[in-house]
Amino acid sequence: AQRLLAVLLLLQPAAAVWPRPQVQRSPPGGGRCLLPPARFRFGHAAGSAVGPGCTVLEAAFQRYRALLFAAGRPTGEAGGGAAGGAGALFLWGTHVEKETVCGFPAGLETFSQLVGRDQNGTYYINKTEIVDFPRFPHRGLLLDTSRHYLPLRAILETLDVMAYNKFNVFHWHIVDDPSFPYESSTFPELSKQGAFNAMSHVYTAGDVRTVVEHARLCGIRVIVEFDTPGHTLSWGPGAPGLLTPCYSGKHPSGTYGPINPILNSTYQFVTSLFQEVSSVFPDFFLHLGGDEVDFTCWKSNPEIHAFMKQMGFGEDYRKLESFYIQRLLDIVSSLGKGSILWQEVFDNGVKLRPDSIIHVWKSSKPYMDEMADVTKAGYQALLSTPWYLNRISYGQDWMAAYQVEPLKFEGSAKQKDLVIGGEACMWGEYVDVTNLTPRLWPRAGAVAERLWSNASVRSLQDAYVRLAAFRCQLLGRGVQAQPLYVGYCENEFGGF
């Protein structure tokens, strides 16, 4: 059910839609249809597999009705236009094909982008027929809530804008070295000791439920990342004994390294934590991290030396890392979950379950070579390397992100099929709620179109025009998306 077919049988023009639908045409003769706000409604079409009671669609109907007729659309004379309503067609029905589960309201988004408003303030839509489905099933956006805490509102708003861009995965890099804002019910000390502020800079169980449910209503999966064994400094204070004590000569230096992989207690802890995480986050997949493990601390620790010897690892600390990851993977799969891992885990030759997904992010080796290697080994791959949107530069850098072709690597058709999509990443070193939204949008829109639209949709000129218009639409919806280049929007200042 990855392919969604939403057929909109509507009236008129090829308004600019972002991301561009797979097929969009105007019926011969064209024509325009009015949408009187007082009477327009969404409804379930005859023959639809879902009807009233599908909460996702009901919520989406309500949301899009508000978006269509409310905030900040350019206004003409108030109340004009639709007087009498003669000739106004009553639209119902986004026809949603049967294989669509009660799920993704992407078609409603497309519909909303087609609705215009004329100078008299009348809402209209031109006759249009659209057949649409995503090119890749995994279209993700990563937010990092550890380098800086992001208030719940910022996350929820981002989910809304993701839906406008037809993203469908929120990769929540929830904890890392600097802070541990996730409030664990099993190990409450983790956030008590590890959050920037244990009261204000945390995500409570209620917050997490809110995010998961809000995402669901937007047709977005939430994949949470608890990155181990590196990137875990903030875990240490709340979980004594979890991290490896580093040594300076013969004595502990008082600093800590990655998770200590040689203790049974580590695996007991990890089992309990992931047990909780598995039930709190309903998605089948967990992101287990596994990137950038620094071996210096392990190398300094005499007990680890002894363990390495005992295990016959020699001096190869990657084997120790793999030993840890291996056990972690077993724990997670015993919990009935699938795993996503950063590419190092694959590079280090860890034995993975066949349904594991490898997340390609490094640029040290050409990422297309890595994509080829990962898929050649039979694993599914996700691409992020060219889409680190936290890395800013002067000018229209959305173009570089847009021009990426994820399948442009040496490999068989079968290998290409293993590429399930990609993710735009907004790491948090320099990002918090003050600059998140303008830094993310509309730049992430470029990634969204690359992952949704047909591979042949590559014209920068065409994309510029549509993306600039889409950005204005975002402003109208109250999203502080930054400009692509010089110019203006009619409805710039309504939303914020």
Binding site: P151, R153, S200, L233, E429, Y430, D432, A481, P483, E492
Partner: protein, 559 residues
């Protein structure tokens, strides 16, 4: 996926300042002196003393470990005895209220269940008395290039005294005082006994905003003026019109914005302009408008027929236009009237006349211009034609008793400049050499080249801006004195109200400190600590300044 470095340092938040005692220390525009003999009382050299959030760092600071409490219900900012300003000085009255709000405002909703002060046996600071010493306080005037911004601040029990020649210095001192007041873990407001002697290193400390590439709503401009005051900037260089749009609504030539603005919504009415100027004045900030000619004027052409040069392809006009047409009398009639208006609308003694990036292609294509060149004996040197035009504009503007600023090309092209002309150096390439030439020729200069903040890059680029030494160019003492300051420029190609504030702040703060503080304030580690605290304070005051690096503020921006 970088690693968090120096986390421990980050965790020492500005608002976590508790009873950490900071021994008497002396700063003369330099990092804290070595601890004296009583160093046993030093809790932590990197601890959170009050001066750990001062930005820009004052010229001379002496802090005592002796702390005073402030009771928001009792504490007063008021005019001291002997001040030439009194309650009729609206500028200071407004400033008193504003700074009261900055210091205590966010906490007033808290129920003060604690008993009277004295719980902690700390003595109380009751007042800040502000004394304006000059006969001419400046209350009802506009700040200008020669205004005194120096102040002297003494915080001792039971009354703090802020002395300044003019109100402009008092405004700077109020900002500094407000930066000294901090809230402890129990919600008490504390200030250490302190003495500060402060004055700016450079007289012209500007921010350039570009409201042509993108329109900036008045609200954004006002917010930015607030942030400028927090950073002791004193010039808003308003690059108000350019090729892309003409949002300035002219009284004499309303067609300019009717036709040249992005839309009827994207204009600055006369009252918008007055509002910006007054809001700036109340914060000790000059507003210098820039009407850039003869290039960068595409948007002028829409509302003013025949102002721009028609470009030709062979013998035929192409329908496109180039710079202002310098060969017509009508051009100068228009400019005379236009700048008459500008001279009266904008009270500052200076107008920025632009003069940058004039493209000669269109002039070269135009047979009438060619004819004119011949007649004037300019040969094929179009820089001479440019200078001819500029010369006439300069004369027009000086006839209104205004001084002018120009971009460096005007100097490079050897236009005759009045001696009080300010030349703005903006070309990144070898700007030290340009500073040397400009000042060598006896002209006043301001530096913008290393501070184009619209050029963004990944990471902590504030360090680069902070590390610039403006006087690091070859020249005599006299030449160095001719460099009167600098500007951080935020050109608008990629900036509008959605991203203006986080893109500008706190990056511009680095420029603010370079232009205010002593030249030996160059310790980046110390600056980092103060800047992160200063940024948190800006958040608290409603400026959504972006983070310097990993970490948090006790009072985050609201999402």
């Amino acid at each position: 996926m970088g690693r968090a470095v120096g986390l421990a340092g980050l965790l020492v938040g500005f608002f976590l300042v508790s009873a950490v005692l900071v021994s008497t220390s002396l700063r003369h525009g330099a990092p804290r002196a070595e601890p004296g003999p009583e160093s046993a009382e030093w809790e932590d050299a990197s601890g959170s003393g009050p001066e750990d959030s001062l930005w820009p760092l004052p010229q001379w600071v002496r802090t005592s470990r002796h702390q005073l409490q402030l009771a928001p219900d009792r504490f007063q900012l008021l005019h001291g005895a002997g001040s030439s300003a009194g309650p009729a000085c609206g500028l200071l009255q407004d400033a008193f209220r504003r700074y009261y709000e900055y210091m205590f405002g966010q906490s007033r909703w808290r129920k003060r269940s604690r008993g009277p002060l004295g719980d902690r046996a700390a003595p109380e600071l009751l007042q800040l008395q502000v004394v304006i010493e000059s006969q001419h306080s400046g209350c009802h005037s506009y700040p200008h290039l020669g205004s005194s911004e120096a102040y002297h601040l003494t915080v001792t029990e039971p009354v703090a005294v802020l002395k300044a020649d003019e109100v402009w210095g008092a405004l700077r001192g109020l900002e500094t005082f407000s930066q000294l007041v901090h809230e402890d873990d129990y919600g008490s407001f504390l200030v250490n006994e302190t003495e500060i002697d402060d004055f700016p290193r450079f007289a012209h400390r500007g921010i350039l905003l570009d409201s042509s590439r993108h329109y900036l709503p008045v609200k954004s401009i006002l917010t930015n003026l607030d942030a400028m005051a927090f950073n002791k900037f004193n010039v808003l260089h308003w690059h108000i019109v350019d090729d892309q749009s003409f949002p300035y609504q002219s009284i004499y030539f309303p067609e300019l914005s009717d036709k040249g603005a992005y839309s009827y919504n994207h204009i600055y009415t006369p009252s918008d302009v007055r509002l910006v100027i007054e809001y700036a004045r109340l914060r000790g900030i000059r507003v210098i408008p820039e009407f850039d000619t003869p290039g960068h004027t595409q948007s002028w052409g829409k509302g003013q027929k025949d102002l721009l040069t028609p470009c030709y392809d062979e013998e035929q006009p192409t329908g496109s236009f180039g710079p202002v047409n310098p060969i017509l009398n009508t051009t100068y009639d228009f400019m005379t009237k236009f700048f008459k208006e500008i001279s009266s609308v904008f009270p500052d003694a200076y107008i920025h006349l632009g003069g940058d990036e004039v493209n000669f292609n269109c002039w070269k294509s135009n047979p009438d211009v060619k004819e004119f060149m011949k007649k004037q004996g300019f040969g094929t040197d179009y820089a001479k034609l440019e200078s001819y035009y500029i010369q006439k504009i300069l004369d027009i503007v000086s006839s209104y008793n205004k001084g002018y600023m120009v971009w460096q090309e005007v100097f490079d092209n050897k236009a005759q400049l009045k001696p009080d002309t300010v030349v703005q150096v903006w070309m990144e390439n070898n700007y030290a050499h340009e500073l040397s030439s400009v000042t060598g020729a006896g002209f006043t200069a301001i530096l913008a080249a290393p501070w184009y903040l619209d050029y963004i890059s990944y990471g902590q680029d504030w360090k680069k801006y902070h590390s610039v030494e403006p006087l690091n160019f070859p020249g005599s003492e006299k030449q160095k004195k001719l460099l009167i300051g600098g500007e951080a420029c935020l050109w608008g190609e990629f900036v509008d109200a959605t991203n203006l504030t986080p893109r500008l702040w706190p990056r511009a703060s680095a420029v603010g400190e370079r232009l205010w503080s002593s030249s030996n304030v160059t310790d980046l580690e110390d600056a980092y600590k103060r800047l992160t605290n200063h940024r948190c304070r800006m958040l608290r005051r409603g400026i959504s300044a972006e983070p310097v690096f990993v970490g948090y503020c006790a009072h985050e921006a609201r999402g």
